[in-house]
């Protein structure tokens, strides 16, 4: 399958999923609204804290707001377009990849795009509002904002693929993988200066919250060629490693001998 065919297939998957999600309009609106409310509620904590402390090791409320917005939009993009990533571990563990392996389509793309998380739209919406009202993005930095958001989404996706692909080797990793992913989100939502030493190193390597939140914030606030290159390179490397890991795991995949209808 050529690259353009893959893209066309991925686009068709996303479009089909979005249509399916929007078909249940009431449930969709409810999930979007509650996710947006969820994000706003969590931000109340920062609003209350920063009313008392104007700066937190150099970070102000607007900086935290930008961080929140970037992480929310990146995460929203990931679970809206590639919502299947959250179910990857179960697909592997239950032998449900059988049905995908028989299709003349790339397995990973199919597995990722076969679901869309409606609440992701709530993250997207609230994240964009956070960014727009932070006052930290100018028209001239819009292209950088797009790069930062896409890079963040790719890192989220890469981590999801890697964490859930552990099921190829370890079996049932559902709880562990979800918790690792939650940790990535948790760490990416706090200002970078709070973490130092080994933990900071970990946040730019094994649990790359730095590439989801901190570095994108830096790219927008103080744009520089090295920072943008590092962000793009980091996102591509993580995605490459995750795809490699999935492909290696797929070689070990034991069929579930499943006979079922699919589609």
């Amino acid at each position: 399958m050529t690259g353009s065919n893959r893209m066309a297939f991925a686009r068709a998957l996303v479009a089909t999923n979005l249509k399916a999600t929007l078909a249940l309009r009431g449930a969709f609106v409810l999930q979007v609204a509650f996710m947006a409310l969820n994000n706003v509620t969590f931000f109340v904590f920062w609003w209350v804290l920063m009313r008392r402390v104007t700066t937190l090791r150099g970070w102000q409320l607007a900086d935290v707001q930008l961080l929140f917005g970037l992480v929310a939009v990146s995460f929203g993009l990931t679970v809206t377009i590639a919502g299947g990533v959250r179910h990857l571990g179960r697909l592997i563990e239950d032998g449900d990849l059988d049905t995908l392996l028989t299709q003349p389509r790339p397995v990973l793309v199919y597995a990722l795009g076969m679901r869309s998380q409606p609440s992701g739209a709530g993250d997207l919406l609230s994240g964009l509002v956070f960014i727009a009202t932070s006052g930290e993005v100018a028209w001239r930095t819009l292209p950088l904002l797009v790069v930062a958001l896409v890079a963040g989404a790719l890192v989220f996706l890469a981590c999801g693929i890697a964490f859930f692909s552990l099921a190829f080797w370890l079996g049932n990793v559902e709880t562990m993988a979800r918790q690792l992913w939650d940790l990535l989100i948790t760490f990416s939502l706090y200002p970078e200066p709070l973490f130092g030493g080994v933990l900071r190193l970990a946040l730019f390597t094994v649990l790359p919250a730095g590439f989801v939140g901190y570095l994108p914030v830096r790219v927008i606030q103080a744009p520089s060629v090295p920072a943008v290159c590092l962000l793009v390179l980091g996102a591509c490397t993580y995605l490459g490693l995750a795809v490699f890991m999935f492909e290696r795991g797929l070689r070990r995949y034991a069929s579930g001998s499943r006979f079922s209808t699919f589609g």
């Binding site: 449930a27 409810l30 509650f34 409310l37 969820n38 509620t41 969590f42 109340v44 904590f45 209350v48 804290l49 008392r52 402390v53 104007t54 700066t55 937190l56 090791r57 709880t175 562990m176 918790q179 939650d182 940790l183 948790t186 760490f187 706090y190 200002p191 200066p193 709070l194 973490f195």
Partner: protein, 262 residues
């Protein structure tokens, strides 16, 4: 009476055995708890450097969070199990038992609490001490432990009530989310209520959330927070309201349950 108590105790024992087997979830909660306390101990240090103008020391705020998270993380998401039982139809055979359905669910939930509260309490103690190098006075623990356990039991009962709403709503996630958010802000999950604007504080005290979290946890702060008598009064009041709500809701839903098939 004794026989009835023994019956519910059996539900608790089954839940304890199950909770003991499902260790993955418990370990995950322990790790998450330790990380959250680590992040917040760093955050409070940074806030203190920035001149957080509260009478409370950063180390006391870490212990405050240790108590609120201990209560929240110990409480199992029983509403999801009830919802699934209703969706799958399993609730039918549970309703037919010669014991109260709500009572059995509560007994099971208390069984899970019996496993989680001590382990997560120990995690809270060790992590908070490791991150602050300080232990609050013993009399604070003498108040926090019993009232924290009572608050966790009340929170579990609240989750059972949310689960019962699945008879009407089918999906209770939105109700749970709202409850969770209200607990976050009005319960003072991460910040003591005193730090919030006066209007939020006034609204908060009209809800059960401060009694569940901020009340017991405030004992860790300078000044000692609420008195044991006030804590007992608030928990008893909201416990009564929750019990009445549970009874009323269950009677309403049980009256309208339609069972199809066999």
């Amino acid at each position: 009476m004794m026989r009835l108590a023994a019956t519910y105790a059996a539900f608790s024992r089954v839940a304890i055995a199950r909770a003991g087997r499902e260790r993955g979830d418990l370990y995950g909660r322990i790790v998450f708890f330790a990380i959250i306390l680590g992040v917040f101990s760093s955050l409070w240090r940074a806030a203190a450097e920035g001149g957080l103008p509260t009478a409370t020391e950063p180390r006391a705020l870490v212990w405050y969070l240790a108590v609120t998270e201990w209560i929240v993380l110990s409480t199992p998401p029983i509403h999801l199990e009830i919802q699934e039982a209703i969706r799958a139809g399993d609730v039918v055979y549970r309703l037919g038992r010669p014991v109260s359905y709500v009572g059995a669910e509560l007994a099971g939930t208390f069984g899970v609490l019996a496993v989680r509260l001590p382990l997560l309490g120990l995690t809270a103690f060790l992590c908070a001490f490791a991150f602050t190098g300080w232990i609050p006075p013993a009399r604070a623990f003498a108040v926090v432990v019993p009232f924290g356990v009572a608050a966790a039991a009340l929170l579990a009962a609240l989750h059972v009530w949310i689960g019962l709403l699945a008879f009407w709503l089918h999906d209770v996630s939105p109700v749970y989310w709202v409850c969770q958010k209200l607990m976050f802000v009005l319960g003072g999950l991460m910040l003591p209520l005193e730090v919030y604007p006066a209007v939020i504080q006034r609204i908060a005290w009209l809800t059960p959330f401060p009694a569940l979290l901020a009340g017991p946890a405030s004992v860790m702060l300078a000044g000692g927070g609420a008195t044991p008598a006030a804590l007992a009064r608030d928990l008893a009041f909201w416990g009564g309201v929750t019990a009445a709500g549970l009874g009323w809701t269950f009677r309403r839903v049980a009256r309208n349950v339609t069972i199809n098939g066999g």
